[in-house]
Structures are given as C-alpha cells and as structure tokens.
C-alpha cells in the first residue's frame, strides 16, 4: 500500500511540477515524476498479484463527509499494472513528443494528473472515492483532448462529443451506484457486496442497466461508441495511447467490478445483453477499421472491435457463472482479462507509432503516406510488431488471448439453455469474422502506410523520430513479443484476478507452463515451439535456396503493363485498398460516393477532370445520434426565444410566476 501511495503521490507531484516549473525543465520533470509513479504502482500491483493478498486503507482526512477508501485486490492490481505499463511508455515517449506539442502548462500539469486518476480508479473501494477518481479521470482527459485545438478544429468537435457522452455516462454511473449505496445501507464496496443478495431483483437490474450504460460508453461499446473514433484520434498521441490502452479498460473494469463482483452475477439476461453489445462492437468496429484511411481513426475503431471481443468474454463468463458453471466462467473471464491486457500493449504501441508517423511526416492520412521502411526503419518494425499482434499471428500476444477466448467459448458449449448457446455461437462467429477483417485492416495500415513509394512530400522527406519516442514504443512492443512466445507467464496473475472478479477461489481448468493448456478438452498451444519450428523452417529453406539457386539479384523497374514510368500516383491507396470490402459490406458501412466529371468544352464524350470522393460515416451516429441532437437543437431554439435579453420580459416572467404561486397557494 505504501508503494501505491508513493506512486500516486509522485503523480500529483508531477502535476504540480508541470504547473510551476519553467518551460525548459517542465517536460523532463513531469516525465520523471510520471515514470516514477508508474514504476511504484506497478511494483505495488505486481506484489498483490504475486501474493494474492489484498491491502486496504481508510482515511477520514482527505475527503469530507465520507473519507477515502482504497483497496488493492488482484482484480484492481491487474488493471493498475496494465495502466502503469502503458503509462510508463507514454511518459517516456512524451519527452520526445513534447518538442512539438504537449509542452504548454496545462498539458504538462494535466498529463500526470490524468495518469494518476487512471491508476487510482481500480484501487478505490467506496462509491464516493470511486466517483471522485472517475470524474477526475474524465475532466483531465477532456482538457488533454483540447491541448491541440488551435491546430485542429476537429479537436473541438471531438471534445463536445466526448464531454457530452462522458457526462451522460458519469451521471448514469452516479445514479446507479448511489441507488445501490442507499439501499445497501453503506457506501463502501464491502457494504454493497454483503447486502447485494437482500436487494430486490428489480433494483439490482435497474442499477445494472445504469452502470452498464456508463461503463459501456467509457469502454466504447457500440452503440455508445460515437465519441471514441473522434476523441482518440484527436488527442495528442501519448494521450491517445493512454485512452485506448488504459481508459477504455476501466469501462470493462467497472462492469466486472460492479455487476460481477459486487452484485454477485445477477441474472442471465444481464450477460446476454453484454454479449450482444460485444458482438455488435466487434463486428462494427472491425468493419469501420477496414474502411478508415485515417490511421488513428482506424486504430480507434479497432479499439471498439477489441473491446467487443473482451465484452464477449466477460458476458460469457457472467452467463456461465449464473448457469452454474463456475470453473468455465472463470476461464472465460481469464481469457477476457488476458485479451484486455494484450490489447493495452499492442494498441498503446500502435497509437504511439501512429504519433511517430504523424510527427515524422506531418500527416496521419494513409493515402498520403508510403515508402517509410527506409526512412523510419525502427518505427516500421515496432509498428509491425503491434500490427501482427493485433492480427493474432502465432508468436505474438494477440494470438494467445484470442485462442484462449475461442477455447473458452468452445468450452462454454457444454452449458445448456438455448439462449446461452445462441449467444456463445454469435460470439464465436464474431471472433472468426473480426479475425479476417482485422488482418485486412492492418495489411492496409502497414502495406499502404509504410511500403511502396511515398505519396506526399511529407512522407518523402520523413526522418526517424527521437530515441525517447522509440523507447516508448519498444516498451510496449516487448511485452507483445514476450507474452506472445510465453503466454503462460501471465497465467497466475490472470487466474487470481478472474477469481476475484467472479467471487470464486480461482481453480480455472487452465494449465500453464510457458504455453497454455486445457486438459479438460485436450487443447493446448506452445507458441515458443511453434516459433522455433517456424524459424527452423525458414533457416532450412534459406540454406537450401542459397545452395541450389543462383545468387545474383538485379534491381529493375516494376512491371507497369507496358507503361514506362511508375509514379506514386499509380499506386493503390488506402481508400482503393478498402474499396472491395466497403462494397461487400455496403449495407453496414453505407459509403457516400461523390463523382464529379468535368467535360472538355468541345465534346461531352471526353472528360477533362474527374473528382471522386468517398467517405464512410458512422451509420449509428447518423441514424441514432443526429436525430437526438437535432431535437435538442430545436428545443434550444425554442427555449432561446423565451430568453431574448429584454429586462422587461424577465420582469414579466417574475410577475407571472409570482401570480401563479399565489394562486396555487390560495
């Protein structure tokens, strides 16, 4: 606990340092404090995960009326350790990034504060403390989103979406938790947990739905995701990495903590709703990721996709728990948590990589990138590690967790009840479909973004980014590879966390050495052996080819179908790459096409110029949110008619109101 408090204290010290230090030392000072905070909290969290014992703290001094309650148990510790890892990488990366942005007083003060709040949320153990930490996280992230608003107007738009969604969500969480606290007779999590069974089913279900709205919107689950593809891309890249790698996790944390742990599982339909949200998010996110040509937007939609996969696992765990399959439930929960941790590593790495590209080339539009392998060799390799991990290729961490997720669903087919089976089957189908779509999206990201010829001057004149930025990316790429070859290393920690989440004392049917195995169904993976076999096969093939084949290599112009010159304009772009999939899934993506043909003056059979534009807007935003926004706007216009600034009119309102009150009282 001391380590945790020292860590959080360092975070606050970083915020103060960022606010008062002169500009030259400000960036370095805050980075040192934030890194220290991450290292300390990581140490505290790993100790709890290693021993399995929770530590608690109550202090009446800090927060008036209720005091603060902190409790670090394995479930919270897993989230804190993950956040600390991403936070350390982002802090390190921020030093190099701050040469350009994130150096204003607001930015340097808010970044450590945001990080501290992210580290604090999973350690809180009462409704009041939780809500304070949650709101701190929301406010600091909003301010960080606005840091670059002078350069990009889109940041302001993103801010409005984020602010409204996050406050609607926070209000729902507030009402839900307060409802539970008042009826349980105490506001600490322990009170709620002990009295949960005595609460009426209707009350529990209402509270569940309220907190689900709040937490699912923070996690970015469809249809509450609309802020995410705007806010995550528009934030400065280290903040994007923290948002996608740590903040969305806390939405999942909230669902697990409140509905799973505190309310003890509840009813089957809760979890079927969660699985439905997951399936919807996974497919919708994956489809939009394949269609996006803005690199950070692609990554943001892929976050929606991965959060969907995690929700499928969490929902399956809840459903299996409620139907009485405790150990299968623990396995599904373990798989979901595993994927969440892996997602933090690779998505953090990818967002930092996208920031590096933006820094080096001045754009993040894939249609204007290309030819970066020679200009940004290290960034290319680190980004590729992230991309291969997210595509679940064997030997990378995404593979291990997606395998486990699929196995846990396959295991779950042992359950009975048509509704559960249908939900699990939908989960399997979604997992399979997103696998292929994610691969297409990330082939596009690497193939168009890094390979080929540069498509703009910015890409042609790019230079490798600073060592601190590369170190930040490497800090997240390393776990992708290590967990990828030896997924068994995390098994104990995940097992403890999932045990807490479901209120069971572990005992998942998972056997872990370096690989993972499920003796119950006789399935296992040993990624290290697979990687070794693959490398051996490559070396052998290489040797054979060296022996028997001619060794001369000639450089020549690419085949141009008889045309002499191959320019960058003839290359495929991200938009053209995604066009066939966009057409296949046109019903969901509904892309808008604009074609303008200018004819030459002499004859309309000859075109002078063709202007083609295509965009895939968020269909849910258009269908659900736009009508609501226009209703609000109509109401606003109506209300503003009553408020025209005339003192006479306001006096008249006062008089009329007084008369009404008098009449009513009389």
């Amino acid at each position: 606990m001391t380590l945790l408090l020292v860590g959080l204290g360092l975070g606050l010290a970083g915020a103060i340092a960022g606010a008062i230090l002169p500009v030259r030392v400000r960036v370095l000072g805050t980075a040192v404090c934030s890194s220290g905070a991450c290292v300390m909290t990581f140490g505290a969290a790993t100790r709890v995960l290693a021993t399995g014992h929770a530590v608690t703290l109550h202090s009446a001094a800090v927060l008036p009326l209720t005091g603060i309650d902190l409790r670090l148990d394995p479930l919270g510790a897993l989230f804190i350790a993950t956040t600390a890892g991403v936070g350390l990488a982002a802090s390190c990366y921020g030093v190099g990034y701050a040469e350009h942005a994130l150096r204003s007083r607001t930015a340097t003060a808010m970044f450590p504060l945001f990080l501290t709040s992210l580290l604090l949320v999973p350690a809180t153990s009462s409704v009041a403390t939780f809500l304070v930490a949650w709101e701190l996280m929301a406010l600091t992230s909003m301010l960080l989103l606005l840091v670059e608003h002078r350069h990009r107007a889109a940041a302001r738009d993103a801010f409005q979406w984020y602010a409204s969604m996050t406050h609607i969500g926070a209000a729902a969480i507030l009402i839900g938790l307060v409802l539970l606290a008042t009826n349980a007779g105490g506001q600490t999590f322990t009170d709620i947990r002990t009295h949960a069974a005595t609460l009426s089913p209707a009350l529990r279900s209402i509270a569940f739905l309220l907190v689900l709205i709040g937490f699912a919107s923070k996690a970015g689950a469809v249809p509450l995701h609309v802020w995410l593809p705007r806010a995550h891309p528009e934030a400065p890249s280290p903040v994007s990495a923290l948002m996608s790698g740590a903040m969305v996790n806390l939405g999942i944390y909230g669902i697990i903590r409140v509905s799973g742990e505190l309310l003890g599982g509840g009813f089957l339909w809760w979890w079927l709703v969660v699985i439905a949200l997951g399936v919807l998010s996974a497919l919708y996110g994956a489809l939009h990721a394949t269609a996006s040509s803005d690199l950070k937007r692609l990554l943001a939609y892929s976050t929606v996709d991965n959060i969907g996969l995690v929700l499928i696992g969490v929902g399956a765990a809840g459903a299996l728990l409620v139907t009485g399959h405790r150990s299968l439930a623990a396995l599904a929960m373990l798989a979901a948590l595993f994927h969440l941790v892996n997602h933090s590593a690779f998505k953090g790495c990818l967002f930092l990589g996208a920031g590096a590209i933006e820094r080096a080339t001045g754009t993040r539009d894939l249609d204007r990138l290309g030819g970066l392998t020679r200009r940004l060799p290290f960034t290319t390799v680190l980004f590729a590690v992230g991309a291969f991990s997210i595509s679940a290729l064997p030997g990378f961490n995404g593979f291990a967790s997606e395998w486990l997720l699929l196995e846990s669903l396959l295991h779950g087919f042992a359950a009975h009840g048509a509704a559960t089976l249908v939900a699990l089957l939908a989960g399997v189908a979604a997992l399979a479909l997103t696998g292929g779509l994610t691969a297409a999206a990330f082939v596009k990201a690497i193939g168009i973004g890094f390979l080929g010829q540069p498509r703009s001057d910015g890409a042609a004149n790019a230079h490798e980014v600073t060592p601190s930025m590369l170190a930040g990316m490497a800090l997240l790429a390393t776990p992708c590879l290590v967990i990828g070859v030896a997924p068994g290393l995390l098994a104990t920690a995940l097992d403890r966390a999932s045990g807490v989440a479901l209120g069971t004392s572990s005992a998942t049917p998972l056997r872990a050495g370096l690989g993972l195995g499920l003796p119950g169904i006789g399935s296992a993976i040993e990624p290290m052996l697979l990687v070794a076999a693959g490398l051996a096969a490559m070396l052998f093939t290489f040797g054979v080819v060296r022996l028997v084949a001619r060794r001369s290599v000639r450089r020549a112009e690419a085949w141009g179908c008889g045309r002499e010159l191959q320019t960058a304009r003839m290359e495929y772009t991200a938009t053209s790459f995604a066009e066939p999939l966009g057409r296949v899934f046109a019903d969901v993506l509904r892309p808008d096409h604009d074609i303008e043909v200018t004819h030459v003056a002499e004859s309309r059979y000859f075109a002078q110029a063709i202007h083609y534009q295509t965009r895939a807007d968020d269909g849910i935003e258009r269908a659900v949110y736009r009508p609501v926004i226009s209703l609000v706007a109509v109401w606003g216009a109506f209300a503003s008619r009553a408020q025209n600034g005339s003192v006479h009119r306001y006096l008249a309102y006062g008089f009329v109101a007084l008369v009404i009150v008098l009449v009513a009282l009389a």
């Binding site: 392998t373 595509s391 679940a392 290729l393 064997p394 395998w403 699929l406 396959l410 087919f413 089976l421 089957l425 399997v428 399979a432 696998g435 292929g436 779509l437 297409a440 990330f442 082939v443 690497i446 193939g447 390979l451 080929g452 010829q453 195995g517 169904i521 006789g522 399935s523 296992a524 993976i525 052996l529 697979l530 076999a533 693959g534 096969a537 490559m538 093939t541 028997v548 084949a549 001619r550 001369s552 290599v553 000639r554 450089r555 020549a556 112009e557 690419a558 085949w559 141009g560 179908c561 191959q566 960058a568 003839m570 290359e571 495929y572 053209s576 790459f577 066939p580 999939l581 296949v584």
Partner: protein, 323 residues
Amino acid sequence: MTATVTTSGLGASIVTSIVQLVMIVLGGPLVLGVMAKVRARAEGRIGAPIHQPLRDLRKLLTKESVHAEHSSAVLPIAPFVLVATAAVAIVVSPLVTTTPVLEHSADLFVVVFLLLMGSIVLALAGLDAGTAFGGMGSSRAMTIGALAEPALLVAILALSVQAGTSNLPKIVAATLAHPSWAAGPERLLAFVAFLIVILAETGRIPIDNPSTHLELTMIHEAMVLEYAGPELALVTLGEAMRLGFLLSLAASLFFPWGIATSTNPAHIVIAVVALSAKVVVIAVAIALLEVRTAKLRLFRVPELLTGGFVLAVLSVVTGLVTR
C-alpha cells in the same frame, strides 16, 4: 525406461512429421500437375506431364532474382515466411499420422492463423513494390481472405464441437472411433464449407483463375507479379504446399480411414498411399468442377464465401442440436 520410450516416441513422430512434410512438398506441385492434366484431357488436349510443376520450380531456381526498384526487405523475406508457415502447419497436423510432432499444439486455431500469416505477408509483398497491380492483387486477396478464414475456422470448429476438443489429432482420432459421425449432417455442411474455402484460399476457378495472365482479372497472380527466379519458385512452392495441405487436411478430418495411428513403418506406408489416393480424388473432382464452371465476377465471390460461412455456422448449430 519411461524416458527412453518417450524419446523414441518423439523420434518416431519427428520422422513421420518429416514424411508428411516431404510428401506435401513434393506432392503439392504434383497435385497441381494432376489438376492441369485433368483439365487438359477434359478439354481435349494432351497437356503437360504431371511433374511439369516440379520442373518449373527447378527452372525458376536457376534464374536470377529481380527486385522492383522501390521494394523493401519485405519482398525477399515474404516467400520464406510463406513456405515456413505452411511447413509448420503441415508438420503439426494429422495428415499421415495421428501422432505428429508438437501434436499438443496442433490446434485448429493454430493452423488457421498460420495460414493467415502466410496470406498476410504475401499481401504485404504485393504492396511492397508500390505498383497498381500489386495493390490490386493484395486488396482483392485480403478481401477474399477476410471472408474465407472465418469460414475455415468455423467449419473446423463444427468438428471440434462434436469431438469436444479443438486439437486436430484428437478430432481425427475421435472420428476414427465413431465412424457414424462421418455421415452426419453437420459433417456434410462443414465439408461443403471447407471445399469452398479451399477453392478461395488456393485461388481456383470459380474464385480466381490460376492460369490467367490478363492483369485486370488476376488476384493471386497480380499480387506476385513482381517475383522472379528463386523467390517466385518459393512463392509457387508455398502456394502448392498450401493446396496440398488443405486437401490433405480435408481428407484427414472428414475421411480419416487409412491414417496411421501408430509409428509402425508399414502403417505409415499404407497411410501415405491412402492419403495420396484421397487427395487425388478430391483434386480431380475440383479440376472437373473447374472445367465445367465459369469464373465468378469478383463481387459475386463474397456471396459464395458468405454462403460457405453460413453453412459452417449451420453445421455448428446442427452439431449442438443433435448432440
């Protein structure tokens, strides 16, 4: 005592896995030759000898490598990754024997994602030269792959639900123990889905035409247009291995009879012969299908693959309902 038994068991399974590998490395190109021969005969031509693809490989190995001007290290590395992923998939899968080396890792998910890895690096190689044709090939190949991989995964998953494991050797062993499963409706549905995936993954008619050289209709050929010499030989070999592997996997999963359940050399020989016979039957059937059908328009292909995916899901549903 136990240790020596395990070691000799390991040694034997390594040997049989190498038998599998050699068989597919040589057999994959021969299957291509058989299919070309069947097509030629059906069209009233004599056709090239069956071992022509192997001769082509030898010829390509002696030629010079040509790299496109703007290409990076991805272009020369990709063929090795393609061959290596196919080789690992072949080594771990139950094709000749139900006890291949690394049998515990022979998971359906492992095999599907190894194949996906090969497809991904090849698609990246297609984009590496920065040409319009390579991009077109990669884009189309990934579009088809994005729909074919899920169908393959779910089709094998249907067998897993029935056998209660996703471990491929155990699925094959369970099928041997319950011969009546092979005639079940879920197997039929899964088999059709699997066949559609094979056509898509290996670029056969009606999805892609392997013998086309008209740029605008090419998918696979457009993607590998920049390859020459030994690297083209590796790409061709890798694709032939994938074809041979998928056909053998279909044969083993759906009609496993003849597969060796021990390391007895006589059984292995029988298994090699049986597998060759099964693969040739499926290959001839596909070749005859190719002669009789026209290539689909590109944007009709997803409908076929979605059909395959739906069949695979239906197969899982059938399995769950009838268990």
